[in-house]
Each structure stands twice: as structure tokens, then as C-alpha cells.
Symmetry: C2
Subunit: 336 residues, 2 copies
DNA sequence: ATGAAAGCGCTAACAA
DNA sequence: TTGTTAGCGCTTTCAT
């Protein structure tokens, strides 16, 4: 039933060490010998036992994905990206959705997790990836990780993949301005994410660059949800000074806003232009479809995982990457 | 830095075997001894090394979640349910999204996976959970699993959690009939899932029970997507005989259908009633909100995982469960 | 109730 | 280039 390295060694008439060399692709094995071993492995259907390997090396080939995010699309896309890279490198991935907690509690939990399961490293997403104390805690405890952050000024520094939300938000807002809009509303998402501040900062910068004043009454504070977007547009439209365009912090909010606006009889984009952020499935399920910026979630996950694995195998390729979401113009801001 | 069972034994002045007994909650340890050990463990912050434990027991405490599903909400909900149960039992979960392949290829892949990582068992969802050959393959190879299926007649038999899609679909259709509808359209989803057939079967049964004839021209074959629902309603409405109500195979399709119907100026539900299936976030992001049936995904995942873990620990509690989604009536079928 | 010793299957020095 | 010999940290007989 279960075949071990000894069986292979016996069959190939070599020592177990040689077998070990072969399965680890070590160079110093003569081609002929290697061939004998490979054949034996195939004939026996041998699979190395990970547990034994992990124990011997006192390290594992499993990484943990740690997150706390209600956005199913985001979570699944991240997982896909991570697994993609892992599969090609022989790593497995364990998922760890966590409730939001104090940084200290999270750090303790993660240390516990890592020592217990001998996790090789962690991929962290917001909000955990943006908790400075948590990160330095992990640093101190020698836990390998990579943190995906909105490129807010110097949160953790090293070991990050940063998303330039600000630049992208600025591009979106500028696009609206280019369309002739002067009263541009902003729907702000959940403030626990840095991305929220960054997107707002981009919005403000674009207005200032165009010598437009920022009207605080055109800024609505909500959540990253459909309902919140719907509520937000409702509120902004009841202003004395109504917006002619709205930039929502993500597509789901934008979809909610668009939905509500159409219910009240507004023509989109003629009477109200609406833009989102993320290029999630929502963006193409409205009519007209949403102008937005592509947050390449799976790509980001891949970059992060590559960086982590590189560090784990000491190939310190310094993939200290930054990604800027690209503007996608669709019907919700541009008349057909 | 790293503290092992030896350190604990030394500190507690007992043998490592006694420490082992304590961490495994074996009964035959005197209370006083146990206390000494527990203290030592706490003082040292000892964490058993899973890899060593797995190796010694030649089995692991990790289960795999295997799926192939584009519905992010479904996937994340399943994961939540599985993790919920696992956390309380000291199990970890590894995720394995797979491309759709031949049953044989999947079986080979899974056997490889299980022997390599010594996975304790698998949670399978459609379509894998509904491939008879695959399941008997796993049976033969002594791989533990639990299969979540739509309760189609005798697919795998044992080791399943079944969802009674048919009964639920029948309830939804009957509800539409109760509202006086006689021309009820059906939007069929992707045929690779048994759930699709079952939901259609429920639709047909309800019509027959009410002595209504099934009009095949009112049945549209599509995918479980927003776009497909939109396309489907479009097609059905171009019929000479138009439906006054539509039952879509899932909420996403229903949302697409509702969306398109409203675009063409129809009043919902007065001119067209629409019902979905799943009670996903889509169901409450339309206006009016969708009548649907609750597919309690996370609950199903919990049941499945409990069953699997019970079997793994020989507590053969025969939790051979069945779940019937419950009808939820909302504005899309019932005038305010 | 407790302990000694022999593995679990592999990798890591070190030799040869 | 290949093999020998210790472990990695825990569980399991089998004694005591």
C-alpha cells in the first residue's frame, strides 16, 4: 500500500540518500543512476511523505492566506492568484479568514498558528496587512510574510506589494473632469482600509489640479456595499447643489448608486455620470456598464506570493512591487 | 526559540510519554501530574509540532476542499462553513480549486494529492461530488470524503450531504401558480450540475400538479450568470406566447432577467413576476428584491464537515443529512 | 500511572 | 558521485 523511500532505494539498488537527491533535484547524481531511480519511483507510484520531509527540514511547504474581507470576489481572486504560484512551486495553501481583532490578538494568533503548523509564511491582506504593530510583531517573531497594501506613505516598508489607489483614483476623477463635470460627488467606503483614504486623496488631488474646489457636501461616507452606494447617491441628490458626476469608492457602491439613480428616472450618463473602482463583476452587470479602474487582484496575489516564495528560498530577488490600477472607460461616464 | 516535548518533560520532571498523554487528553494521568505538565507547557509556550505528530501517527489533521465553481459567493460561504467546524476540532483546511477535467484525471490528481500531503479527507462539491466514477474511485483507494450533492436519485449513496433542490423548486413554482400565473417561464442553468435538472424537475412537477401544461417554448437554456438571465428573459419575451412569470435557476440569472425586464419598461411584479434560487447577495440588490429559496451554503458545509470528521475519528454517527432550501417571498413576485 | 526504547519517512552532515 | 549515520519531534508498543 504505502511505499516509502526505502522501497524505492531497494528497487533501484541505490541508497536512500540517492533517492532523496533525485526527488529533490540535486545536481550531483549521474544520469544513469537518476534514471534508475526515476523508473523505480514510477513503477512503485512513490510519493514523498510531506510530513516526514517537513519534520526533517524543520520547515513546511505550506503558506497561509490571512484575511478578513466580506468581498467574496476579492477573496476568491486572491486565492486563485496565490494558488497559481504555489502549484508551480510545490507549495500548498491554507486559508485563514479571521474576525477583526486587536493587532496584538491577531499577532498572537498568527504566531501560534505558525509555530503549530510550521507554516512557511503568510500572505496578508488589508486590514491586517496595514497594521504596523502587527507587522513589526511578526518581524520580531521571525515570521515570514508579505503584506498587500494600498500605497499609503510608509506603512510597513519592506515585504510588501503596494497598490497605487491614489494615482488610479486621480485618473478616474480627471476623466470625469475631462468630460466637463465640475460638481463631482464622492462616495467614500469603509474607513478601516487605507485604500479608502487613498482613493479619496486621489479624488481631491485631481480636483485641485484642475483648479476646482472640493465641496465637502458632495462627499458621502458609507460602506463598500451596494446598499451604501444606493443610499449615498440618494443623499447627494437631495443636496441643494447636486453633483453631475459621482465617483464611488468601488464598483459595488457604484452599482448601487447607478441603480438608485436610474430608479429616480435619471439618464446615465447624460444626467449623472458614475464611475466605480475595482473592475469587479459588478462593473459589467449594470446598464450602462461602469467606468472603473482595474484592480488586478489575482495578479497582485501572484506578485505577493512570488515575492514570499523567493524570500523563503533565499532567492532575494527584491520584487518590491507596485501596481497601479488602469482606467477603463465605459458607458456610465461616456455617452454612446 | 523552539521548544519541544523534551523541554516540557524536563521542566515538568516527567517523561515525554507523560507529556504526550497530557497533550492528547489521554485519561490515565494523575491530576497532580497533569497539572505539572500543563504548567510547564504554559510557562514554555509549548506548541506540539504537527509535522512530527502527523509522521508518527501516519495521518494528518488537514482536510482538503475541492471545487470548481465560478460563483465566488458560494465558494467563500462553503469555506466559511468548513473552517468553522475545523477550527473547533483542530483541523486545518487546504483549498483545491480545480479545472474541470475527466473523472479519471481528477481521481488520479486527488489520489496523488492525498498520498503526498497525507490529507485526512476531502470535502467535494459539484460537479466533482456528482461524478459516480470519481467517487467509487476514491472509495477503492480508501480516500475519505464527503460529497455534497443535489439529491438526484442515488448518485453516490453513502458519504453525502444532499440538497433537495427539487422540492424547493417545486415550492417556488407553486408559489407563482398561487399568484395566478399560468404562463411560467423557466431559465435553466448550466447542465453540468445535477441541481439544474433537479430544479427543472421541481418546476415541471409543480405545473403538472396544478394541471398546467409545460410549454417547452417557455424554457430557456443558459448559464448561471447575470448575462445569461438577461438574455433569457429577452428571448422568452419575444415569444408569441409571453410568460407572466419567470423562475430562474439562480439569483444571478434572476437578477439579470429582472434587470433586462425593467429596462424594457416592464413593471415588476405586476407585468412580470420573477423568482430566483439561492438567496445570495444578488437577491437583495435588485428592486424589487427577489423571491427565492435559501440555499444555506455555510450550513451545508458544516454538516458535510461534521460528517467527515466524525468518520475520520470513527465516531460513525451516520449524519447522512438532507437539506431543503426554504422559500422566501419578496417583492419580485408579490405586489406591495 | 508512568517510562524506555523503537520507529514514522525523510534530510543533513560527513565519509568514502 | 554515492553511501552511512544521526537526528527532526512525536506516538506507540511494551515494560514496570
Amino acid at each position: 500500500m504505502k511505499v516509502s523511500i526505502n522501497d524505492v532505494a531497494r528497487r533501484a539498488e541505490v541508497s536512500i540518500k540517492t533517492v532523496s537527491r533525485v526527488i529533490n533535484n540535486e545536481p550531483s547524481v549521474r544520469a544513469a543512476t537518476r534514471q534508475k531511480v526515476v523508473s523505480a519511483i514510477e513503477e512503485l507510484g512513490y510519493q514523498p511523505n510531506q510530513a516526514a520531509r517537513n519534520l526533517a527540514r524543520s520547515r513546511s511547504y505550506t503558506i497561509g492566506f490571512v484575511y478578513s474581507n466580506p468581498n467574496a470576489y476579492y477573496v476568491v481572486s486572491m486565492q486563485e492568484g496565490i494558488i497559481d504560484v504555489c502549484q508551480n512551486s510545490g507549495y500548498e495553501v491554507m486559508i485563514h479568514p479571521l474576525p477583526l481583532q486587536e493587532q496584538q490578538a491577531v499577532a498572537d494568533y498568527l504566531e501560534n498558528l505558525v509555530t503549530r503548523t510550521r507554516l512557511a509564511g503568510l500572505v496578508l491582506t488589508p486590514p491586517f496587512s496595514e497594521m504596523p504593530e502587527l507587522l513589526s510583531n511578526l518581524d520580531n517573531r521571525n515570521i515570514e510574510y508579505v503584506a498587500i497594501q494600498s500605497s499609503a506613505p510608509s506603512l510597513g516598508g519592506e515585504r510588501t506589494v503596494r497598490v497605487n489607489d491614489r494615482a488610479a483614483a486621480k485618473n478616474i476623477t480627471s476623466h470625469l473632469i475631462d468630460q466637463g463635470h465640475q460638481q463631482i460627488g464622492f462616495l467614500r467606503g469603509d474607513p478601516t482600509h487605507y485604500a479608502t483614504q487613498e482613493r479619496e486623496a486621489g479624488y481631491r488631488e485631481a480636483l485641485l489640479d484642475a483648479h476646482l474646489t472640493v465641496d465637502e457636501s458632495l462627499i458621502y461616507s458609507g460602506q463598500y456595499s451596494f446598499e451604501s452606494g444606493s443610499e449615498g447617491v440618494n443623499q447627494l441628490l437631495s443636496n441643494s447643489k447636486k453633483p453631475t458626476a459621482i465617483f464611488a469608492s468601488n464598483d459595488e457602491m457604484a452599482a448601487g448608486a447607478l441603480f438608485r439613480a436610474r430608479l429616480t428616472g435619471l439618464e446615465i450618463p447624460e444626467q449623472l455620470a458614475i464611475a466605480g473602482f475595482e473592475n469587479s463583476p459588478y462593473a459589467t452587470q449594470t446598464w450602462p456598464q461602469l467606468t472603473t479602474a482595474t484592480l488586478p487582484v489575482a495578479d497582485i496575489a501572484q506578485l505577493a506570493t512570488q515575492q514570499l516564495l523567493a524570500r523563503l528560498s533565499k532567492r532575494d530577488n527584491e520584487l518590491d512591487s507596485e501596481v497601479t490600477p488602469e482606467l477603463i472607460i465605459r458607458g456610465s461616464t461616456l455617452p454612446a
